[in-house]
Symmetry: C2
């Protein structure tokens, strides 16, 4: 069954159970595992590790590409295995542990983790655990539905455990393009000038002697939890499509736009779906995660090529994409996240980056990560890699949340992930603010007039007017700047008691 | 006198007075002028424009490379000429107008202005005014002591005014390397892999028919106002040199370190001077401004090559550098700021970026621009271009200011220019915090233990302990996070009345 997947015969002797392989991971180790946006994560070994930790406690520092599926972060957290975790996660149990200060979480730009490893600025992984569809005749590792940081983890680790996952279609082989930047000071340019360029090899080239264990599994990736478009996300998509039309009309883009990047999640996915009925054509993607919308756009004849670091699909789309992979394969490539998100390439290609904001402020500063300025949601992910160097740095969010108790547009964000310098366009279902070339006071006008929910517009106008009366390049009232967040924390509504007080007055 | 500087004879007929040339600039125009860190700015035409505006009011949108010398921003502000200004300034009169909301200031990453122009995301300059040492036989423009954005301004503008400045040594010719990225979607990698590489031409290539006026001047650049090292800046330099020694010992750098970038100003200059007596050798710089310290290091035999976008020297150093330029010329190159600061090159070369913070917080977020969160100081400049992609993103500042009324280390910065994701090392005269690979709570411990002034340490410890008790990945107390800034604004001291209250309690 698996013997045709391990094509270097001498490695067949390394096949063992997940429990035995997990014994290679020792207390205090740094472990690099495959997995990016719930795609292609090693599944059996981390689960066996969590099992073992229940009766034989141990702690590790765990690095991945991004988030893991199959509740692995939950299981590892509950088993007390995680001392440190980087660079991204989306699990609610792990999130609680991070916010309680029990797990040290290092929230990084996704392009930077392996760069810091390469320069020995982070501790190298002692061991890597990589999911694969096959091991080649040369002993090289063919990843599955994500590349993430797997290639560099396998290269840097002293020992490598490979999980051969029979649930993945073996014809994923050929989809990957593994390029690793050379070392400084003799590093050369990344020779990628078009979305579809292949610049590396089809498998992760390591010394096969480093492969110390092979575990055979058959558990599928978790499906994505993306929600279908609703009226608000459709509104956001419509505003953005109208904006793109104006950009084309102004001669700033062709009707193929530019290479598109969309962050993970329901809003960005809905925006991409909105392009199906748009007048644009021959679209391309240069993104980190390829979601349902990527394949919907290919099926609609709108998207000619998509480059990413992972494929994460809903239950609905999973079978017809991976069951019919041959019909998509010449339009796809999966790259290491260092390359999918590399600032050099993002700037060169002129990406249109569409990412989700948790909240943004009057002046266009964006909070992507911290609820109420303190509680980690998921992490910055690749949003900074793209926004900083994009042709257009676009952030989208619904204007209100929690039935109106929260405004996503606030006087001052409670945490900054993207500064005003890096944000071009803000969109809510209310409208779109084009901040390019505007000074802060002008940005505020555009944000209030276009993005804020009507229930919060007066309050935001009042804040801005009072702040301007006080002066400054970026007017603020420090005593009131975070009051909306304080109201929410203390009273459950951003405008309470202020709004109540105003009514009484 | 100037005829040998204008080597395309047909252009000699374009020589005119500054007043006449200034008449080409009309009300409402967008004007791109040379000038970067008080070096190589057009001098006579803006002055004539300010004169003219006194009796014949007009408004323009002014773009430069960075700051101007010779009080030009002051004169233009006082004459009411500036409607809009980008991307950087350092003038106190202009600063007041910006903070009063009278001049719309667009504070940009210095690598991005011409990229946005190239993509028509900013209005192209109607006219460019460029200081030059010469115009070549082909009608190409040879810049003076800065390149800045001059090349792209001249390329994009419909009309170009050239100021031939006889005060500059004509042998500046040969110092410049003008490379302009190609247009998307066929842009190619920037072929620069070593600090000393020359990849472009020695002059700005434009159609000479666009040169509509030539003005002859002889006013020198303003000298830099850099202060000599003091005990505190020497302390910062010492901490940083000790850190570099540890990095070399750990094998993470060689004793040539990496290409150095130092922000403008006294602190960064002092840090660079500190390297003169260090054990490091064959140092290189890949920076935006080359200050006194660059030449002190060359004279000391420590620095083998320096790449920048401008040369800004003190009165003391000016004559002996520009009077003996031949002895430095093979160790120098001046590039467009788009290239000196380009994320592609910064990441490839592995820059060590040393920039000055106005303040930073517990978690390593840095404010480079806004006093009290509202009042613009100078602008972000190139600090973000370097910090985001540097091998080491280092920020330096004295731990206190205004005789101790201000702590540069605060619970929460009042404005964020560099997020925690982009900051590796923080240094004050108190010590150095190495934040690499640390989670926020660990970063806070490193910052408090190493960087904060003793007078503020207890208060910061108290804040951090109370915030941790409340929880969160990045613990904060929103009601108190900006209290130090509010205290300063209202009472003139960051810990008053809190400290007084504490004493009474």
């Amino acid at each position: 069954m698996y013997t045709d997947r391990v094509r270097l015969p001498c490695l067949l002797g390394k096949v063992m159970s997940a429990a035995d392989a997990a014994l290679l991971i020792e207390d205090g180790m740094t472990v690099g595992m495959s997995g990016f946006t719930r795609a292609g994560e090693a599944k059996a070994v981390p689960q066996a590790l969590a099992e073992r930790a229940k009766h034989s406690p141990l702690k590790i520092s765990l690095m991945t590409g991004a988030s893991l599926g199959n509740d692995l972060d939950k299981q590892l957290t509950e088993a007390g295995v995680l001392a440190r975790r980087m660079p991204f996660q989306v699990d609610s149990t792990l999130r609680k542990a991070i916010n309680a200060g029990e797990v040290m979480f290092i929230d990084q730009h996704l392009s930077e983790t392996v760069e810091q490893l390469r320069n020995h600025q982070l501790k190298l992984p002692d061991i890597a655990v990589i999911e694969a569809v096959a091991i080649t005749e040369q002993g090289h590792i063919v990843p599955t539905t994500s590349v993430g940081n797997s290639a560099s983890f396998a290269i840097f680790a002293k020992q490598v455990i490979v999980e051969i996952n029979l649930a993945h279609n073996p014809n994923l082989e050929g989809l990957h393009d593994i390029y690793i930047p050379t070392y400084r000071p003799t590093r050369t340019p990344i020779p990628l000038t078009r979305v579809q360029d292949r610049i590396g090899s089809g498998a992760i080239a390591i010394d096969p002697a480093k492969i110390v264990a092979i575990v055979v599994t058959d558990k599928p990736d978790s499906p994505s939890t993306v929600l279908p478009p609703d009226a608000d996300t459709q509104g956001i998509a419509n505003h953005l499509i109208d904006f793109f039309k104006r950009e084309v009309a102004a001669g700033r883009m062709t009707d193929s736009l530019g290479p598109l990047q969309a962050g993970i999640g329901s809003i960005a996915n809905a925006v991409m779906c909105g392009l199906i009925d748009s007048p644009f054509q021959n679209l391309t993607m240069y993104s980190e995660v390829l979601q349902d919308s990527t394949f919907d756009l290919i099926d609609a004849g709108k998207l000619s090529f998509a480059s990413g670091s992972s494929i994460t699909l809903s239950q609905r789309r999973n079978a017809d994409v991976f069951g019919n992979l041959e019909q998509y394969k010449d339009k796809l490539v999966l790259r290491p996240q260092e390359i999918s998100n590399h600032p050099e390439v993002v700037r060169r290609l002129g990406i249109i980056g569409i990412n989700t904001a948790l909240e943004f402020d009057l002046y266009g500063n964006v909070n992507s990560t911290h609820v109420g300025g303190t509680k980690m949601m998921n992490g910055i992910g690749g949003s900074g890699d793209f926004a900083r160097n994009a042709h257009l740095a676009i952030f989208v969010t619904k204007s209100i949340a929690k039935g109106g108790a929260i405004s996503s547009v606030v006087p001052m964000v409670s945490h900054v992930d993207h500064t005003e310098h890096d944000v071009d366009i803000l969109v809510t279902e209310q409208g779109l603010a084009d901040l390019r070339g505007l000074a802060p006071r002008e940005r505020a006008r555009a944000v209030i007039d276009n993005c804020v929910h009507p229930d919060y517009r007066d309050a935001l106008n009042q804040y801005f007017a009072a702040a301007c009366a006080k002066g400054g390049h970026t007017p603020h009232l420090l005593r009131e700047a975070l009051q909306w967040h304080i109201n929410l924390e203390e009273n459950g509504h951003m405008l309470w008691p202020s709004a109540e007080a105003a009514k009484l007055a």
